[in-house]
């Protein structure tokens, strides 16, 4: 797969965007600038970006509760996302979604779900509309290893398999569902479950390698677009931070040595090295790119700070499309 230098740089750019955006969000939560809590994808950037960049711009994607990274990976600008986390009027969802419910339809992001597993059927339906309308768009559902135990995944795999829908089901196996280690509540391997539905099940062991993820997802996307049906991918990765920042979980459920091992495999550091080795950029250029992104993130914070909070009226908008019903139910 010959990827252009520009494409590789864009991969790096998007991973760094997710990292710095989430680090900034995490700080803002601690300072009380973001209400509630945030679930960061710090440590998981390679699988987010590898998957999103295997999609075309007008392909669809659904996220879960840990999904600031997904729209960013799909190319969403940062300002409206950050403003949404704070609940500003300029937020991508006008301040009505917040961290758990980002959506950016302009980049094919059909929204996240705070209900674990619940967006999987939605992505399946996007695949159905592509098939009926014949527009060749592929849809990708992100979900965690915890969500992989929800029944709706299996209803979806069966339906998509039977109808050969162009859907990619991607399990981000960061090995924990909140505090619960995946292997203690999961029978067998998640990727192996695909066999029961007669569809490919692929486990990407090196989920910190953006190119490995990109390659696996590209193949699933190719199959989907060619009418060969869905695939189930399980990407092994790790989350560096707490399940939910702002929640203050004070129990140790992860081993320090385990964490160190994964930190030494940091996807952004690894890929920075790849860029230099391949002569795509010098080390200085990689640094400069990271600084550029840091400035982009700061700009999103400035944008957020300068934005007003929503008018009270907004609480009563967007429930229905038609004004009559909206009026009657108020």
């Amino acid at each position: 797969m010959a990827l252009s230098d520009e494409f590789l740089l864009e991969m790096h750019r998007r991973m760094v965007r997710i990292r710095l955006f989430d680090e900034r969000a995490s700080k803002m939560v601690k300072r009380g600038h973001i209400p509630g809590t945030v679930h960061t994808s710090i440590g998981q950037e390679a699988q987010v970006v590898g998957a999103c960049m295997a999609l075309e711009d007008d392909d669809y994607m659904t996220g879960n509760h840990r999904s600031h990274g997904h729209p960013i990976g799909k190319g969403s600008p940062l300002g409206p996302l950050m403003a949404e986390l704070v609940g500003k009027a300029t937020g991508i969802c006008k301040g009505k979604g917040g961290s758990l419910h980002l959506a950016d339809f302009s980049v094919g992001s059909l929204g996240e779900s705070g209900i674990v597993g619940s967006s999987i059927p939605i992505a399946t339906g996007a695949g159905l509309s592509s098939q009926v309308l014949g527009n060749k768009r592929v849809s990708l559902a992100f979900f965690g290893d915890g969500a992989a135990n929800q029944g709706c995944l299996y209803e979806a795999l069966n339906l998509a398999g039977a109808w050969k829908l162009p859907v990619v089901y991607l399990c981000e196996n960061n090995q924990y569902a909140l505090s619960t280690p995946a292997h203690t509540v999961t029978s067998g391997r998640i990727a192996d479950r695909a066999a029961g539905f007669g569809i490919p099940g692929v486990r990407v062991e090196n989920g910190q390698d953006v190119l490995a993820v990109y390659e696996a997802v590209s193949e699933a996307v190719r199959r989907a677009r060619a009418g060969e049906g869905p695939s189930l991918l399980e990407v092994v990765t790790y989350r560096y931070r707490e399940h939910s920042e702002g929640l203050r979980i004070n129990v140790d459920y992860r081993d320090e040595a385990e964490r160190e091992t994964w930190l030494s495999q940091d996807p952004i550091t690894l890929f920075g090295r790849v860029l230099v080795e391949r002569g795509v950029a010098t080390a200085d250029e990689v640094d400069a790119l990271e600084k550029e992104i840091a400035e982009e993130v700061e700009e999103s914070v400035r944008f957020t700070n300068e934005s007003p909070y929503p008018e009270a009226e907004v609480a009563f908008e967007d429930l229905y499309t038609d004004p009559h019903t909206s009026e009657v139910v108020r």
């Binding site: 979604g97 059909l110 929204g111 059927p121 939605i122 339906g125 339906l159 967007d318 499309t321 019903t325």
Partner: protein, 353 residues
């Protein structure tokens, strides 16, 4: 105009919708074989007018028995360019997809700040009064009235079934259509022209000046029969069918009560938090000064539905129960104090063995 049954009118509406718009698809369990009689001109698969023959399997599809993904996939498809009509057959099966109805269909547009529109219709039939037992006899529409973001319709005549369903397909919001199986066989003249019945506009089925009977779904025919009999007794009853419960035409109801001063509400759902409870509250808030007597509800009791026909038939509103309520509220019946227990129940225990 043609004579159409209620079920025939639903089939006609689906056919019109599929013909008019390529984006409309019908999905559900056993829709290809026209098992429930709404996806073909006749019940025979091989005969002409079968939906699969007319529109192809791309647009008329059997689903697996997987209510959660059926509902969710329809939502996702609706967000991305289709206008699905989902046949969920028995209304009892909606519970399996409750997450998709409540967390996705109802909330997505709002949560995403208006980025999503979800033009999907979920049809399901309430198979009550058919000795189907508790797992198949639900009338769950009130639960969904409690979920902002959904529209809820309960057509009670063939003409309304067709006109409301076509409006539902054209709505850009998720609509739950509850069809009453006891009404399936009812017939009336239905226009073959394209027509729509707007949401939020109640139908005054009978005009009258002494009492307002608001009746919902399968109770409409009982209310009309009661009104006919009351007319002979010299009581003039106005019968109103809201037709759509979300949005609800509370204005028409309040206006009628202001005219008649009395209100009886009849519906086949359970009593607690039913549509009748909501309508009672609206009238109490907005027209209490017009009331000349208590508001009375004729509903099913808060009880599961038993299998035995002898037991099941006791539980739903009937013409007699509506008559009884109207006479009481009009002061024509003995003013015995009602216990908390619904009357049908007391009768059940006393019923001859």
């Amino acid at each position: 105009m043609t004579q159409m049954t209620y079920i025939g009118a639903i089939g006609a509406a689906q056919r019109e919708a599929l013909t008019a718009d390529e984006r409309v698809v019908v999905i559900g369990e056993d829709v290809e074989a026209n098992v429930y009689g709404t996806t073909g001109a006749s019940r025979q698969r091989a005969e002409e007018g079968d939906f699969v023959q007319m529109f192809g399997k791309n647009r008329v599809r059997n689903t697996p028995i997987s209510e959660e993904v059926i509902a969710g996939a329809a939502i996702g498809a609706a967000m991305t360019g289709l206008r699905p009509i989902v046949d969920l057959s028995y209304s009892s099966f909606l519970y399996l997809a409750m997450d998709q109805f409540v967390n996705q269909a109802a909330k997505s547009r709002y949560m995403f700040g208006g980025q999503a529109s979800i033009p999907v219709v979920f049809r399901s039939a309430m198979f009550y009064s058919l000795n189907a037992g508790a797992h198949h006899a639900d009338r769950p529409y009130p639960m969904f009235m409690n979920v902002p973001g959904l529209k809820v319709i309960t057509p009670a005549s063939p003409a309304d079934a067709k006109g409301l369903l076509l409006s539902a397909v054209e709505s850009d919001d998720p609509v739950l259509c509850f069809e009453a199986v006891p009404l399936w066989g009812t017939k009336e003249e239905v226009s073959e022209e394209e027509y729509r019945i707007p949401f939020g506009v109640a139908r005054t089925v009978r005009e009258g000046g002494d009492v307002t009977i608001v009746a919902i779904s399968g109770s409409v025919m009982d209310a009309v029969a009661a009104a006919d009999e009351l007319a002979e007794e010299g009581i003039s009853a106005e019968v109103i069918d809201p037709r759509t419960l979300v949005p609800l035409d509370s204005e028409a109801i309040v206006k009628s009560v202001e005219k008649t001063g009395r209100l009886v509400i009849a519906e086949p759902a359970h009593r607690t938090c039913g549509a009748a409870a909501e309508i009672s509250a609206i009238v109490a808030e907005e027209a209490i000064h017009a009331l000349r007597g208590p508001i009375l509800r004729v509903t099913a009791p808060d009880m599961q539905i038993p299998f035995s026909p002898v037991l099941e038939s006791l539980l739903y509103p009937t013409k007699e129960k509506i008559l009884d309520a109207v006479r009481r509220v009009c002061g024509e019946a003995p003013q015995e104090k009602r216990s908390g227990e619904p009357k049908a129940y007391a009768d059940a225990k006393d019923a001859p063995q």
